[in-house]
């Protein structure tokens, strides 16, 4: 065997990819060729270096969390906000394409239960919003800051109120997308928990509350005054219900319209 052949084959030998005959040939060559043997020792040392655990990048918790439990099918991307152009733009394009591809599948499999469809999507969106940098577009505890922020970003005016007095302080707002349409998301806190309240206009008038549960998340949705609301959180169902009542209760804080 010549050094030229050995230079390629010693890698395959190091990687345990050679058959017995080739292995014997390369070992023989190295026995008689100090320079190839030295090379081999270097690459073996390199391999040991690369085995160092810190070079292996494990998935961050946020990513792991969003895939650790069985999840409802995630289709709608978060509203594309160019976080880091141009890569973010490419991401947006990629996601948009993915939505187009994904949508028919979604509708064929989930058309059956319209209500649970919204709940599933809202829960997916809630989980996504928990990822770093995804939660809030506007950070404010002041409803008079949050509400105007939505102006011009949506084709409707969302209802915004602070429920700090009831133990659910408003902390911010976000544009989001559910089922292919833009929706307003208000973010409230309950102790250390986050509640996302999604809303968008619908044609139907009043629909009574319904509750969906999924792996520790609760979603309550209702329609009032041609506006559909979905509240999602990991707080208990009774606490989420309390939140919904507080939001629906006009007498507590004058509702901004």
């Amino acid at each position: 065997m010549m050094c030229d052949d050995a230079r390629l084959l010693l890698h395959a030998y190091l990687d345990n990819e050679l058959d017995a005959a080739q292995s014997v040939a390369i070992v023989r060559h190295m026995q008689g060729c100090p320079s190839c043997a030295a090379s081999y020792a270097d690459y073996a040392q390199l391999r040991e270096g690369m085995a160092h655990a810190s070079l292996y990048r494990r998935a961050p918790d946020a990513l792991r969390k969003s895939w650790s439990a069985e999840k409802p099918a995630v289709i709608a991307p978060p509203a594309a906000r160019p976080r880091r152009a141009p890569f973010a733009l490419a991401m947006a394009a990629g996601l948009a394409a993915a939505v187009i591809i994904g949508t028919p599948l979604w509708f064929t499999t989930h058309r059956a239960g319209d209500t649970s469809q919204w709940a599933n999507e809202a829960i997916s969106s809630h989980i996504r919003s928990m990822q770093p940098q995804h939660l809030m577009d506007v950070v404010s505890t002041d409803q008079h800051t949050v509400k105007p922020w939505f102006d011009g970003k949506l084709d409707f005016s969302p209802r915004v109120k602070d429920l700090a007095g009831e133990g659910f302080p408003l902390v911010g707002g976000r544009l989001d997308a559910l089922g292919g349409r833009s929706v307003a998301a208000l973010i409230f806190k309950r102790h250390l928990h986050v509640i996302n309240l999604y809303q968008w206009p619908v044609s139907s008038g009043e629909v009574a509350e319904s509750t969906t549960q999924w792996h520790g998340y609760n979603a309550i949705q209702w329609t009032t005054d041609r506006m559909h609301f979905v509240a999602v959180s990991d707080v208990s169902e009774s606490e989420l219900h309390q939140f919904v009542l507080a939001f629906q209760n006009d007498s507590v804080t004058p509702l901004m319209r």
């Binding site: 050094c3 230079r7 390629l8 890698h11 990687d15 990819e17 100090p34 320079s35 190839c36 030295a38 090379s39 020792a41 270097d42 690459y43 040392q45 390199l46 391999r47 040991e48 270096g49 690369m50 085995a51 160092h52 810190s54 070079l55 292996y56 990048r57 494990r58 998935a59 961050p60 946020a62 990513l63 792991r64 969003s66 895939w67 650790s68 439990a69 069985e70 999840k71 099918a73 995630v74 976080r83 880091r84 141009p86 890569f87 733009l89 490419a90 991401m91 394009a93 990629g94 996601l95 993915a98 591809i101 994904g102 599948l105 499999t109 989930h110 059956a112 239960g113 990822q131 940098q133």
Partner: protein, 180 residues
């Protein structure tokens, strides 16, 4: 929705365990934490969506191929300026005979190894990451990257030679630094 539920359950059992592998590859290809997270997330969504077309076999290889495609397709959209063509001929094996001196100068510390890895061109970086960090066989790498086994082998050799040269020169510089 029973079909969907069982689909979810098996996706969780078959694909999700390779989330770390997906992120690791995405991170080494993109060299950026936030981009890697976006790529891995997008790749997982694609995998979830196309899980119906997964016909058994090695789910890790299947997922890693999706991660790689996701990275390249997003990157191609990101900027033409970032395009990097790889010509196997211009990256021919470095023609130097390893001398005992050169060997003594190679220092494998994690910091410089990481820098050296990140400075490799993508086609070389992906094979070495798949081989050394994911411990894929040549056959698996060939299947993930859609290349011939011979190409995988020669690119691996090139990747290692480049790393070795990089590590040797950086340790030479360090020595020069010490002298001054």
């Amino acid at each position: 929705m029973p079909a969907t539920i069982s689909n979810n359950a098996s996706f969780e059992a078959i694909v999700v365990p390779y989330l770390d592998a997906a992120y690791n590859l995405a991170r080494w290809l993109s060299r950026d934490d936030a981009d890697a997270q976006d790529i891995a997330q997008e790749a997982m969504l694609r995998a979830f969506r196309y899980f119906g077309s997964f016909r058994g076999g090695d789910a890790r290889v299947w997922l890693l191929a999706i991660v790689r495609n996701t990275f390249y397709s997003l990157r191609a959209k990101a900027a033409d300026a970032m395009h990097e063509t790889f010509d196997d001929d211009t990256h021919a094996l470095i023609d130097e005979q390893p001398s005992p001196e050169a060997r003594a100068l190679m220092s494998v510390d994690i910091q410089s190894l990481q820098v050296a890895l990140e400075s490799l061109p993508h086609p070389l970086r992906e094979v070495i990451v798949l081989r050394e960090l994911e411990e894929c066989s040549y056959k698996e790498i060939a299947s993930i990257t859609g290349q011939k086994i011979g190409t995988v082998m020669s690119r691996l050799a090139r990747a290692r030679e480049r790393l070795k040269a990089e590590l040797s020169s950086s340790s030479t510089e360090a020595r020069r630094h010490d002298v001054r």
